[in-house]
């Protein structure tokens, strides 16, 4: 084996997130260690795996059989790794095998054979295979059409569970209580998948999973087992999960373990996989729910939870090595063939962002909706759970300290939303019994008793503090801040009281063997259940604060920044420490930094670690907003912050101060004001003129930003979404229509700019920069605009004495630029800028921050011979009911970027990478307001000339006919007349929908919504932005004439 191709997972989305950056990166490292040349296809430019020093050849290309085949033709690899890029890679690999491409090019699939993958993916085959060894699966019947599904349900008896084959994260699956629900669900499912499975309903059973590893010599071990806090019925990605299992006896644990190894041997899996069980809470009866024949979210979690490098080992096993030969990288004394013994408990908590989508059903169930997760470690369940509740970043201090309200707890408990655990805390406090709670939720009483311990401690604290009680509270995971709030004191006061009482946390190692063997591990957590530290302080280390949970707006890009900062600091001979708690990251891998604290990014915890390590300082500018927000607090508590001074960071963060600063520097900004009453808001909006951007204070139950066009919508929005008062002011900014948005990523040292990259959004301002399509270098700016941007950037860098990374966003209208945002930290687009420019911004920033000599880059991105286009990855298909429309509030869950010789090539590749399909025949047009109809007229004609058949809604059709474009007119969805747009969409007769929204009549809005939503539900390419529509048509034309370039990053 000389050359191996690895397929990545593409843009982060619900059900397929950062965990595959971890697994792919580990696989690359494992292959490189064996001297194998690695080729990687992954359009996710923000990942660590697509960085310098990782794969030998990196292709930023869509994960589709067509593109992968072209790369195979070009690179001629001997082997192919499919199991490190999630369901996308697996599906792609199966397609390549079925079409004979792999055979034709003589490429061998390494690890688990395709036949085994198919056995686990096709539910019917799966059940048959397991029946052969008497392994129990739920009663289930596979159906390829609705009729079959209805018959199956009748046979099994309602309620039934419907599962969709070949779906990531349980997409489309769910409970059906009657025929009507089954009909609805199956109709949708068959639009995306060829098969559904109708299954017996096992609600209330425990959900348990095992991570299994097997080598080609038939050695088979289970590395970790995990138990879901929430019983079956809630997708494991939506569940609170503990490792190891807590409520299973030896008999249950080892019964399921034995079945796991038997099943995995029978299926012939080589490498890593995951098996999920339902376990009867009243007997040892069980069902096997599924086997994932690849690395998964669970395996990333298991890897971090145990310290066992699952992905690394899986890659070695795929090459044919045996578990007995591979060293345990953590102990360096023992072998990979063992099962980790934990001496701590791990809690995984999902991170949701459902509040960002007002139409989405807030209830959780068998489909995944969470966008990220956190992992906490403690020596008791209570300690770990409370840590995790703070880590998810909802502003919650613990189980009993939140601002949520549950007017109808019974309903919340029975039909849970993402907030159920807090409701349990509330009702326990209100005196509900564990038995009553169990009857409603079926959550094992053991977990509920533990929650009760926390509630009882809170009640004791309310009566006053004693030293033993303070110790107990800390051992049950209460934060200083929570205790302070209960006692109406200051956080730092409690900290002092605690320290003087010698109630301190101790640092413990995760060593995979429960301390049985000495380990050189750097994998650490803090606990109040200890009497000694496992480690000694490092010699003047540098601490890098990580990004925390992935959520909308903060994702793998910040992990890339952290990893690169560590790498640079290491090169500068610094001892590096990372604090982070996100199990999906590369920064939390065992081999990235010298010491990893898998713990909270809170003032309390960072200070604990700071005081122990006595570091050179802390870098807060790499991990996004969480560390950035800690800067001033840490500084005030006496910690040394490296890079831009926290006071200057604060000047940029404080809207008033920053605005005054811009005025002083004579830099333009849109007019804005902070207002504390609805009346004042209204009169200010009228003064500056609509449309305006309104930004209410962020409160948990509140809503986010919005653009409003008149008094009525202003009142409606502010009235229903949040309260406006002096404590919760609203910021109103003039919204400038038809302006471009420009972003600059830059690095400075002592106020002098060292490097910068100016990029331009394709969409006009109004689309959040995280959702916008970005071109680097900027393609359509005036030279004068660029000159102004550079001037402003230099002035701000100088004024704020910036040392480190920063990002500024501008509005550009004609030749006038206005600053709309400035962050003195790395931004989302730093990996994009670095990789397209081929200069590592973070390396330069880290050198600057650490006071090392660093050369300014005397080159402009305008000199590049290639173009990079970054596009957002959305997860609308998983968020039922959400209008897939873009606005000022970010909605995307990930991003991709592609590089090409010119804009159309890069743009189309980026679009294809986020799921766009090149339309074959029929295009539906509904092009919105008249100015957009006019704007798009030439493009529509171009589509016609390319041979597409055009369909349109009435207004658009009429407009186009007037301009001599032949068009088929379809009725609006609400007209309920045929030929209807909805029918055409549902029957798969449309390949592309261009739907530009209007902002007038409610009925029109509803029609537009139905078109967009139906397109998403039926996996039809959808464009909703006029500028993107123009670019797409141009790109399609380019593609017909020139094709698309297949070149690795290294070749640009």
């Amino acid at each position: 084996m000389k050359k191996v191709l690895i397929i990545g997972s593409g843009g982060l989305r619900i059900g397929q997130a950062g965990e595959f950056d971890y697994s792919g990166s580990q696989a690359i490292k494992a292959l490189k260690e064996e001297g194998i040349t690695t080729v990687l296809i992954n359009p996710n430019i923000a990942t660590v795996q697509t960085s310098d020093g990782m794969a030998d050849q990196i292709y930023f290309l869509p994960i589709t059989p067509e593109f992968v085949e072209q790369v195979i033709e070009k690179e001629k690899p001997d082997g192919l790794l499919l199991s490190f890029g999630g369901q996308s890679a697996l599906n792609c690999g199966v397609a390549l095998e079925e079409s004979g491409v792999l055979k034709k090019h003589n490429v061998k699939v390494l690890g688990t054979p395709i036949a085994s993958i198919k056995d686990t993916e096709d539910r019917d085959l799966f059940v048959k295979r397991l029946d052969q060894i008497d392994a129990k699966t739920p009663k289930s019947i596979a159906s390829n059409d609705l009729k079959g599904a209805l018959a199956a349900a009748k046979k099994i008896g309602y309620p039934v569970m419907v599962r969709v084959a070949y779906a990531l994260g349980g997409l489309g699956s769910g409970l059906c209580e009657d025929e009507e629900q089954l009909r609805e669900r199956c109709t949708k499912a068959f639009a995306n998948a060829p098969q559904v499975l109708v299954e017996e309903w096992l609600g209330g059973w425990k959900e348990v999973e095992y991570e299994v590893v097997r080598d080609s010599f038939d050695n088979c071990i289970t590395v970790c087992n995990m138990e879901n806090f929430d019983p079956l019925g809630i997708h494991t990605g939506e569940s609170i999960v503990v490792a190891p299992s807590q409520t299973l006896t030896n008999s249950e644990y080892h019964k399921l373990r034995e079945i796991a190894t038997r099943v995995i041997r029978h299926l012939g899996i080589i490498g890593e996989c995951n098996i999920q069980y339902a376990l009867d809470p009243e007997s040892e009866d069980y069902r096997i729910i599924e086997v994932n024949a690849r690395l998964s979210r669970s395996s990333a979690l298991a890897s971090k939870a145990t310290g066992y490098p699952l992905a690394f080992i899986a890659a070695k096993l795929a090459l044919g090595q045996s578990l007995v030969e591979i060293e345990n990288k953590v102990t360096k004394k023992t072998k990979a063939c063992f099962e980790p013994a934990l001496d701590y408990v791990v809690v995984k908590m999902p991170r949701w962002d459902l509040k960002k989508f007002k139409e989405v059903d807030q209830r959780i169930g068998s489909e995944m909706k969470s966008v990220g997760e956190v992992m906490s470690i403690g020596r008791t369940f209570e300690e770990a759970l409370q840590k995790s509740l703070r880590m998810i970043g909802l502003g919650v201090q613990g189980l009993t300290m939140h601002t949520l309200n549950f007017p109808n707890p019974e309903e919340e408990l029975q039909y849970p939303t993402d907030k159920r655990v807090f409701c349990i805390g509330d009702v326990l406090k209100a005196g509900w019994s564990v038995e009553k709670l169990y009857d409603i939720t079926k959550i094992d009483k053991w977990f509920l008793y533990k929650l009760q311990n926390i509630v009882e401690c809170k009640q004791a604290l309310e009566k006053g503090l004693s030293k033993p009680l303070l110790r107990k509270a800390k051992q049950l995971g209460f934060s200083d801040k929570e205790i302070a709030t209960i006692l109406d004191k200051d956080e730092l006061e409690i900290r002092e009281e605690r320290r003087s009482a010698h109630i301190l946390p101790f640092i413990k190692q995760i060593d995979t063997l429960g301390a049985e063997y000495p380990a050189e591990t750097n994998y650490l957590y803090l606990t109040y259940h200890g009497q000694e530290h496992d480690v000694t302080p490092s010699d003047k280390p540098v601490i890098v604060l990580g990004s925390g949970a992935y959520c909308i707006g903060s994702s793998v890009e910040f992990d890339w920044c952290c990893v690169n900062a560590i790498k640079t600091a290491k090169e500068l001979k610094k001892t590096t420490i990372v604090i982070n708690y996100n199990p999906e990251t590369v920064s939390t891998d065992y081999d990235e930094c010298d010491k990893l604290y898998f713990d909270e990014l809170s003032l309390e915890r960072v200070l604990d670690i700071y005081e122990f390590e006595d570091p050179e300082g802390v870098i807060v500018s790499m991990g996004g907003q969480i560390p950035n927000n800690l800067a001033i607090k840490l500084h005030n508590a006496g910690a040394n912050i490296l890079g831009t001074s926290p006071e200057d960071i604060d000047r940029a963060e404080n809207r008033h101060v920053f605005s005054a600063l811009l005025d002083k520097l004579d830099i333009d900004q849109p007019p804005w004001k902070e207002l504390t009453s609805l009346e004042a808001a209204k009169s200010f909006a009228n003064m500056i003129g609509y449309p305006v951007l309104i930004r209410p204070s962020y409160v948990l139950s509140g809503a986010a930003m919005n653009v409003v066009w008149d008094d009525a919508s202003l009142i409606r929005f502010l009235g229903e979404a949040s309260e406006v008062n002096p404590e919760h002011p609203v910021v109103i900014t003039k919204f400038i229509t038809n302006s471009k948005e420009i972003e600059i990523d830059a690095v400075a040292k002592n106020g002098e700019v060292l490097i910068y990259a100016i990029s331009e959004h394709i969409e006009n301002a109004g689309v959040h920069s995280g959702d916008a399509t970005m071109m680097l270098p900027a393609q359509r700016l005036y030279i004068e605009t660029i000159r102004q941007v550079k001037r402003v950037v230099r002035a701000i860098a100088k004024e704020l004495k910036i040392t480190g990374p920063f990002n500024i966003q501008f509005l550009a209208y004609q030749n006038r630029i206005r600053v709309i945002e400035c962050n003195l930290r790395a931004s989302r687009s730093f990996p994009f800028s670095s990789k397209v420019f081929k200069h590592n911004f973070i390396e330069i920033a880290t050198r600057a921050i650490l006071g090392e000599p660093v050369q300014a880059v005397d080159k402009s991105t305008l000199d590049l011979d290639h173009v990079g286009v970054k596009a957002a990855q959305f997860s609308f298909s998983r968020l039922k009911g959400v209008d897939p429309l873009l606005g000022v509030e970010m909605a995307s869950t990930g991003e991709v970027a592609c590089i090409g010789p010119e804009i159309n090539d890069a743009f189309l590749k980026a679009l294809l990478s986020v799921g766009f399909k090149i339309p074959q025949k029929n295009v539906l047009l509904s092009t919105g307001p008249i100015e957009h109809k006019a704007l798009l007229l030439d493009s529509v004609k171009q589509l016609r000339d390319m041979g597409y058949t055009l369909f349109a809604s009435s207004g658009t059709a009429e407009f186009l006919r007037r301009h001599d474009v032949n068009i088929y007119e379809l009725h609006w969805p609400l007209d309920k007349k045929e030929p209807n747009i909805l029918t055409f969409l549902q029957q798969g007769m449309i390949d592309l929908v261009i739907n530009i929204p209007k902002n007038n009549e409610a009925r029109e809005l509803e029609n537009d919504y139905l078109i967009r939503r139906t397109a998403v539900d039926h996996d039809i390419s959808l464009i909703t932005d006029p500028k993107i529509a123009l670019q797409t048509v141009e790109a399609l034309d380019y593609y017909r004439k020139n094709g698309l370039e297949i070149k690795s990053w290294q070749e640009y």
Binding site: D343, V345, Y449, G514
Partner: protein, 353 residues
């Protein structure tokens, strides 16, 4: 459910170190050899394993008592859910006790069970710190609460846990003579499940005149060299050709009878995750273990060969005769607690009968 006393108590080690916590179980002091086990499940099985006789057991997995204790129902004259008829450890040391437990199969709490058997225990201890100390300095004597130190290894522990008289568990025509040095119930169950009649005899029983098809030497506590009578009896059996199978202490006794030597490990193997490689293959099994002594491979006579080896520390995990059907393993194929991967060794033995 009885209330946990919860008063302060401490674990004292012979080197003078102290570990503080709270009392549960029986309210008394106890002395013994302090050892640790890294298994994450199976405290009812572990605590009743006779090999722990005389030992103060530290569980490294912190959360204990979660699923309570099952009932005392009896099948085949054996307690169904336990490995012997009583708790064998002298005392128990854990980090976090679950004051409330839950499981369909439980009838009482761990605390109540310990009280019933008059065994003291402590929770709230930094068990990782204790374990590190034992790992670095070797197993040590110690006490839970204030009492005199007592070295159990000077006693014949096997005699304490072995059956006092011969007992026959009737099944099929094939008969295994089981020398009980502190046998775990699941070993007996393993034979009964395979329709083998088990003749269970005391550790020092002279079985030369017994009628049997195969000889089995069980696990048990302490230093194998204490069992001189068993070794002498075994030497006689080795002259014959009837199949012999030994587990744990049985492995050490077989080695001693064959003329090899045994030695005390620094801190032993007590866990459910020990990897054992079958010699000459790349096959590795995950095994359950509980032993403080090991066979010195180098001392094996030439007609014997190492069979299994520990992948972590290369110690011996089993031996076999080069021509006769004699073999034994250091690990526990009967599991309970632990993985059942090597259960087939019973089949292998039974097939020879």
């Amino acid at each position: 459910m009885g209330a946990v006393p919860g008063g302060k108590t401490s674990l004292f080690l012979e080197d003078g170190s102290e570990f503080h916590g709270h009392s549960f179980g029986a309210d008394k002091a106890a002395a013994g050899e302090v050892v640790f086990n890294t298994g994450m499940v199976g405290y009812p099985e572990t605590l009743t394993d006779p090999s722990y006789r005389g030992q103060i057991l530290v569980l490294t997995y912190p959360l204990v008592g979660n699923y309570g204790i099952p009932d005392d129902s009896i099948t085949d004259e054996l307690l169904r859910h336990f490995e012997s008829s009583t708790i064998q450890v002298t005392a128990l040391v854990i980090a976090d006790y679950s004051h409330s437990h839950n499981h369909w199969n439980s009838v009482k709490s761990l605390h109540d069970w310990l009280v019933e058997h008059d065994i003291p225990a402590i929770y709230g201890v930094d068990t990782r710190a204790v374990t590190k100390k034992l790992r670095e300095q070797g197993v040590m004597l110690g006490t839970l609460g204030k009492t005199a130190i007592d070295d159990p290894n000077t006693r014949n522990l096997v005699a304490e846990v072995s059956t006092k008289e011969k007992h026959v568990y009737k099944r099929g025509p094939k008969k295994v003579l089981l020398v009980d040095c502190g046998v775990k119930h699941n070993i007996i169950r393993a034979f009964l499940d395979r329709d083998i009649t088990v003749i269970r005899v005391p550790w020092d029983y002279d079985f030369s005149n017994e009628d049997y098809d195969g000889l089995f030497i069980s696990n048990g506590p302490g230093d194998p060299k204490q069992c001189e009578t068993t070794i002498a009896n075994l030497k006689k059996a080795l002259k014959g050709d009837k199949p012999i199978f030994g587990i744990c202490l049985g492995n050490q006794l077989l080695a001693l009878a064959a003329g090899a030597d045994t030695y005390k490990l620094k801190y032993g193997h007590r866990s459910q995750n020990q990897p054992c490689v079958e010699q000459g293959t790349k096959r590795c099994s995950i095994t359950s273990q509980n032993h403080g002594y090991a066979v010195d491979e180098k001392s094996l006579p030439k007609e014997w060969q190492p069979w299994f080896q520990n992948a972590n520390d290369d110690t011996n995990e089993g031996i076999r005769h080069t021509s006769k059907p004699f073999f034994s393993v250091q690990f526990h194929p009967e599991a309970t607690p632990g993985p059942v991967d090597t259960n087939h060794l019973f089949d292998m033995f039974v097939d020879l009968l």
